[in-house]
Amino acid sequence: MSDMKLTLKVWRQAGPSAPGAFKSYPASANEHMSFLEMLDVVNEDLQEQGEEPIAFDHDCREGICGSCSLVINGSPHGPKGGVTTCQLHMRSFKNGDEIVIEPWRAKSFPVLRDLVVDRSPLDRIIAAGGFISVPTGAPPDGNAIPVAKEDSDRAMDAAACIGCGACVAACPNASAMLFTSAKVVHLSLMPQGQPERNRRVLAMVNAMDEEGFGGCTNYGECQAACPKEISVENIALMNREFLRATLHDRDGAPRVAGTM
């Protein structure tokens, strides 16, 4: 077990309207620790010295809840790709490294404290999508509704989104298109998602715009940062869904939301 000495440069901010600044801390770790465990040790030291521990979000620590959210050396969830911060191990770093740790940066994600941001805009985009019409009662026969394997696979891939917001953090435009498209597409590809298909995409894109996220310039940074490797193909599908729904939907919900 090789030990490493690191220098952390961490964004500290006492509250939503307090000014923030970077502070440096020495840290030691071994290569088997997760990134969050490394921070836990730093926090224990801080507490012993009577200092405020570094606040960061975490819950499941196994890559499924989407709570953890750190920009590590400029990359959301760190340099590895395809993992969340909680699944990132210290073997991705070397002895002597300086590691810069910042919160997700977006106007729609205000910093609450240190590295914790408010990601409720993502919940509101999901809520705007509304319900799907599923008859309740006795369970239906298995395979009563045929679904092409290819479609169910793609829907499942989109549904892997854990809503962590790394796509927003990674995008130079702070766009939530990858997140929103994953949520739109995992339903639009399935028969169960058809009845509300048009109004769902209209409402979710509307909510996304109202929350103040940017648009897509096809940089591709979102896909590279996504711990679940959600594909930008979903963005293309959402664009198509949105265009179709805006031009075809019989109720035609004209928008008044946009400011421009």
């Binding site: 977006a106 106007k107 103040g212 897509c216 310039t217 590279a224 664009n239 949105f242 265009l243 946009g258």
Partner: protein
């Protein structure tokens, strides 16, 4: 019409407007490049081509008006999307690590501004002749050859053509994605199409100022 307004009010609709108007401008550039390289064949052929175009009279103005309209749509959408994106990230990162985005993608905005500046200069240079050292109306081939003899002019053209190439490349690749055409079976073809068109169009344009700088124009 309400539905077009509804489209324009979303970031997706603005992007679709950019894609559509961009495609039309790409079409113009292909025909413009193809006619420009006539200067290598015979400068008189360029004159004849220009005369043929001017023969359309009123229709030529319709085409110019259309191009100008789509150019303005393109610029307006780009401007508004830039404003929205800037507002969406008021505080940037201390450490920046781009993993996959290309230089072409990240310079779309300033590249676009350079093209707009170039366009004003270009029209004053070759269409009105205002900024041309020795302009002869109707003698298009001669105007190009003499205009390109000025070293800094040829250099400015050459630099702009490279930047147009970058803009063009990301634009063409990206237009498929924006219009919803992303499919694993076709994605590598998208890149091939973008690269081939860029080499053809930007390369064709570039050949003229480069030939002038090397003293190879007739």
């Amino acid at each position: 019409m309400n539905r077009f307004r509804a489209l324009w009010q979303s970031v997706i609709g603005k992007k679709i407007a950019m894609a559509g108007s961009g495609l039309i401008l790409v079409g113009f550039l292909i025909s413009h490049m193809a006619s420009n390289v006539l200067v290598f064949v015979d400068p008189a052929k360029l004159d004849a081509y220009a005369e043929w175009l001017h023969g359309f009279g009123g229709l030529l103005w319709v085409a110019r008006g259309g191009l100008l309209f789509f150019l303005l749509v393109h610029i307006l959408a780009a401007y508004q999307l830039t404003q929205i994106a800037r507002a969406a990230r008021p505080t940037g990162y201390h450490a920046v690590d781009y993993r996959v985005s290309t230089y072409a993608a990240r310079t779309m905005r300033w590249g676009g501004v350079l093209i707009a500046v170039f366009l004003v200069y270009h029209i004053l240079h070759f269409t009105t002749g205002t900024l041309h050292p020795d302009f002869h109306p109707g003698e298009v081939g001669r105007n190009v050859i003499e205009g390109m003899q000025v070293t800094w002019t040829a250099a400015f053209y050459a630099i702009t053509m490279v930047s147009i190439g970058a803009h063009f490349w990301h634009g063409i690749w990206s237009v498929f994605q924006t219009l919803g055409l992303n499919h694993p079976a076709w994605n590598s073809t998208r890149v091939t199409v973008a690269t081939a068109l860029t080499l053809l169009v930007a390369g064709g344009f570039l050949s003229i100022p480069v030939a002038a700088l090397l003293g190879l124009l007739p």
